[in-house]
Amino acid sequence: MSLTLAIDTATRRTGIALASSQNVIGELYEEGATAHGEALSRLASQLLQGVDRATISSVAVGVGPGPFTGLRVGISFAQSFAFALGVPVISVCTLDVIAAEVSCNQEFAVATDARRKEVYWARYSAAGKRLGELRVLKPGDLTDEERWLPTAGDAVEIYGELFPYLLDPPFPSMGLLGARASEFALTDHAPMYMRRPDATPPVLA
């Protein structure tokens, strides 16, 4: 059997799954805006109980966009896990995985919570193909045309009044990612921070 371990920590729902292209063996989630690392370890220990590691042939991980610390936790875990087994890492865009589950017969958008009163935002074709750039912005800075697109992702729950047309799902499905990882593969494995570091020099009193 050839399984993919799928991981995402780019939203406030930490998720992990084990899946083949045919079926999902297991899929676990834990919600919480912080402590992704602790959640991921707890979920992994549950999911991997009794699993022969030799059946895992790739590790797929969401590289964002997402808040700095949580995002790195998933990527760091995924990269070391894959390195230890000698299997490839498949890096994917978290918003693309959300978009893949949307059913909509017109162009739509995905918006996830970026904290600091901002959202990560991207536009998709009806077929689920990303159009244009990923952006991080205040929802109020979207044009009216952009806001009125049907929108999936957890930001629509937080900024409900700004996104009139809500779509499911709010979070990426790890089962779906595990089963179809290669469809989402990015060529770049770097985390999509979308923001520069907060490089405030330490206070020299």
Binding site: R42, S76, F77, S80, A84, P191, P202
Partner: protein
């Protein structure tokens, strides 16, 4: 010796991404990548910059350590990782990588205390640790005086800095002297040609009134202000003399307190670690002053005093040998982990 535990240790509490491998008390690999140059222009470590650099350097570090040690990950008996104290965002890159390795390999994971690891590293250099021992840990992040009964389970804090860490004082004084970051090596170098008795800088918490409340605590902020005041009052100051006199004040207070702790606890062994333990004046004076009072000093070589992965692996190996319980999945990395907590349950 094949039956000694083979342990990989990961350290990311500050700006070094470090992976070490030991077998028992033998050092096999010590791979370190530092983001110090990226922080130099800020005059101190920027947490988010450090965390980004850790992620980039992590897997290459693991790969290099295995290559240097000529072992494969599958041969490991355990993984150890620093879980605090340190910068939380930085720690999390290490703990997540360690969890990834441990889950992939199905090996036990030990989440350990950074300060206990600084003490443990000396087993790689000088063999089994004397017990009990006083440990003086001095770096940019910590200044601690400890009583170590058993480094794998029983450490007591005797004192710590109430304001700046010793290494931080070096950084700040180097900055006002225009010597750059990090300050420790720069001041050490400059002080070589200076007169350590030229200026009588204050020694924090050494007055008789401090003996009750702060006998083994440290304070370096008054010293730093005194240096700034001196430079202001003496525009034609001699850099080397200021550096040497400042360094003498720091080293004097560190050793005075460490040796008086040894005396009051009735302990004859002193272990010194942390980045500031690489300071040449501290190393020299420690030997001189300890031997006068019958205390045996152990200081690892400078490369093992600064943050490294081998120290974490060394502590991991001691924990495996002691039969300690591995950490449960979901342990929490903590920026202010107390030293009494050698491992996270």
């Amino acid at each position: 010796m094949k039956n000694e535990p083979l342990v990989l240790g990961i350290e990311t509490s500050c700006d070094e991404t470090a992976v070490g491998i030991v077998r028992g008390t033998t050092l096999l690999a010590d791979a370190i990548a530092s983001s110090v140059d990226e922080h130099a222009r800020f005059g101190g470590v920027v947490p988010e910059v450090a965390s980004r650099a850790h992620l980039e350097a992590m897997v290459p570090g693991i790969e290099r350590a295995c290559k240097d040690a000529k072992v494969s990950l599958a041969d490991l008996d355990a993984i150890a990782v620093t879980a605090g104290p340190g910068l939380v965002g930085a720690l999390l890159v290490g703990t997540s990588a360690a969890a990834g390795l441990a889950f992939a390999l199905d090996k036990p994971l030990y989440a350990v205390n950074h300060l206990a690891a600084h003490v443990s590293v000396d087993v790689l250099e000088h063999g089994a640790l004397p017990s009990p021992a006083i440990a003086l840990l001095v770096s940019g992040g910590h200044t601690s005086l400890l009583r170590v009964d058993d480094v794998s389970s029983h450490i007591t804090s005797l004192g710590a800095t109430m304001d700046d860490a010793a290494g931080e004082a070096f950084d700040k004084v180097a900055r006002i002297l225009g010597l750059g970051f990090p300050g420790g090596p720069a001041i050490d170098r400059e002080a070589q040609s200076g007169n350590a008795r030229a200026i009588d800088f204050p020694r924090g918490f050494t007055q008789s009134r401090d003996q009750e409340d702060h006998a083994f605590d440290f304070s370096f902020s008054g010293l730093k202000s005194a240096v700034a005041r001196y430079l202001h009052d003496h525009p034609n100051f001699h850099v080397a003399d200021v550096a040497a006199s400042f360094q003498e004040a720091v080293v004097d207070v560190l050793l005075t307190k460490a040796l008086s702790a040894a005396k009051s606890e009735g302990i004859e062994h002193l272990i010194i670690g942390g980045g500031v333990a690489a300071n040449s004046r501290l190393r020299l004076l420690a030997e001189e002053r300890a031997s006068k009072v019958g205390v045996a000093v152990r200081i690892p070589r400078p490369g093992l005093c600064t943050d490294n992965g081998a120290m974490v692996a060394a502590l991991g190996s001691l924990l495996v040998s002691a039969g300690s319980t591995p950490s449960r999945p979901g342990f929490e990395a903590r920026s202010a982990l107390p030293v009494a907590q050698v491992t996270l349950a």
